[in-house]
């Protein structure tokens, strides 16, 4: 890789933040404080991550696993905050992210696609959890809202002697489609409509474009696989939560968000 961007260079890029602030003030958007806070927060958080990746982790794989565990918990907590009305969502998301991480990291490291090093471990685990949070929130909410909206239809299926998994089947399938389609679309249009972050980052960092593409593809498949895993775990988990063992639908009260 070629030389890093210098600290002076980074400071210069703040001109663009200033431009955004100026635009907000000019159009009276009242977003100046938000823009400044977001920029500073990103700076602080990423510097912290950078320092940790650069100085702490290379010496210790165990610490990296601990970091992965913390990321998984934090991602599950984020899902709980955004979809708190879904019963048991924290536990479900925690299980889903843990399973998705195990599966995807198992494949990526097991087949030697990436070397198992602290930096790759933390980065790939972060990609898994980070990119699956939205799909997880969407699927949890969709299953719950779908069963609530289509309660009559679901109970009509139960009344025909169908099991709860059969009765909820169409709703769960719709929810999974809704959650996964955006990721599939992104995978389809990659390179045509947009250049994804990993690749642009690598190219800007001086990697060869073809090398960057290979890594990007592995990352996109990682995200697709982990999104499918997490959404399936959460969708089936929510379904199990809202049906009793004797195949009755018991929905929680509509939550105040």
């Amino acid at each position: 890789m070629s030389d890093d961007i210098t600290w002076v260079g980074l400071a210069s890029s703040l001109v663009l933040v200033a431009l955004a602030v100026a635009l907000s003030r000019w159009r009276k958007l009242s977003l100046e404080a938000g823009i400044v806070w977001a920029s500073l927060r990103a700076l602080a958080q990423l510097l912290l991550v950078g320092v940790a990746l650069e100085f702490v982790l290379p010496r210790n794989l165990a610490w990296s696993w601990a970091w992965v565990a913390i990321m998984v918990v934090f991602a599950a907590e984020t899902v709980r905050r955004r979809a708190g009305e879904v019963p048991g969502v924290f536990g479900l998301a925690l299980g889903a992210f843990a399973l998705a991480s195990a599966v995807t990291l198992g494949v990526l490291f097991g087949f030697g696609i990436f070397p198992l090093e602290p930096a790759t471990l933390v980065t790939l685990a972060g990609l898994t959890a980070g990119n699956c949070m939205t799909a997880t929130v969407v699927v949890g909410r969709r299953v719950l809202d779908g069963l609530r909206d289509r309660r009559d239809e679901v109970e009509a299926r139960l009344a025909l002697g169908l099991s709860s998994s059969e009765a909820a089947g169409p709703t769960v399938r719709d929810a999974l489609r809704t959650a996964l389609v955006p990721q599939i679309e992104r995978t389809k249009t990659v390179g045509v409509v947009f250049l994804p972050g990993t690749m642009t980052g690598l190219i800007l960092g001086g990697a060869s474009p073809l090398g960057a593409v290979r890594i990007q593809l592995a990352v996109m498949y990682l995200i697709l696989g982990s999104a499918a895993t997490t959404t399936a775990v959460v969708a089936l988990g929510v379904r199990r939560r809202v049906f009793t063992a004797d195949h009755r639908l018991v929905l929680p009260h509509a939550a105040t968000r």
Partner: protein, 235 residues
């Protein structure tokens, strides 16, 4: 029609309720210590004002609703000793609003009976006075009355002994209402037990062989029931 509260021997009863209480997840009592027996055969009407617990009582019969206390027996056997899915195939249900599933009418019937032939499906439609051309129609495009009849045909596809009908005419027009009432009578004449929930006392009087009056989650005593049925209720 006889519109007296049902009073049958427990061993002859289709459903026997003993001190049945249902408390909703909101903590509200939907049924308070209900003691009653619904007879085998004929049309039994469950009547009462809105919120009196009629639908809750009905939904207990196929275990879409769980009791909080008390006991329910189906033909003398405790309800909880049945597999719920088997029970629901013996005790079928049609809901207040039509519940067509996505797809054709044939698809809908196949959800209930996966091995149904076209001839069998046509015969089911004939039983609810729809002709075979409906098989290929989009179920979600049917009129309210047609959809409700299709739902009845779908419930008949599981070959039940009992049909629970929860205010099935409340969302259909006058003509469809008459058709559904005559279908209920025909099913009853063919030997099926019908439990019909309604708040329409004229309909109950037209249709029912037995009537149970529920008020505030309790089965009304004879005097209260008679007063309610005569329209002199203090409700």
């Amino acid at each position: 029609m006889n519109a007296q509260p049902a009073n049958v021997e427990a061993d002859a009863a289709l459903f026997t309720f003993t001190d049945v209480t249902v408390v909703g997840s909101d903590g509200r009592h939907r049924l308070h210590g209900v003691d009653t027996a619904l007879p085998t055969g004929g049309v039994t009407a469950l009547v009462g004002p809105s919120g009196s617990g009629k639908s809750t009582l009905l939904r207990c019969c196929n275990r879409l609703e769980a009791t909080t206390g008390g006991a329910i027996r189906f033909r003398g056997v405790p309800l909880e000793s049945f597999d719920p899915l088997d029970l629901r195939r013996r005790v079928a249900m049609v809901f207040q609003r039509p519940t067509p599933f996505a797809g054709t009418v044939r698809d809908n019937l196949l959800v209930a009976a996966a091995d149904l032939t076209d001839a069998g499906a046509g015969a089911l439609l004939t039983r609810v006075h729809l002709d075979e051309s409906f098989l290929d129609r989009d179920a979600t495009e049917l009129s309210g009355g047609e959809a409700q009849r299709m739902c009845l045909a779908r419930s008949l596809a599981v070959e039940p002994d009992v049909m629970l009908m929860d205010e099935v005419t409340s969302s259909v027009d006058h003509v469809a209402k008459g058709v559904l009432e005559s279908l209920a009578r025909a099913l009853s004449a063919a030997g099926m037990s019908i439990i019909w929930v309604t708040h329409d006392l004229d309909q109950a009087a037209r249709l029912a062989d037995h009537t149970v009056v529920l008020i505030d989650g309790r089965v009304a005593d004879d005097a209260t029931a008679a007063a309610y049925l005569n329209g002199a209720s203090d409700e």
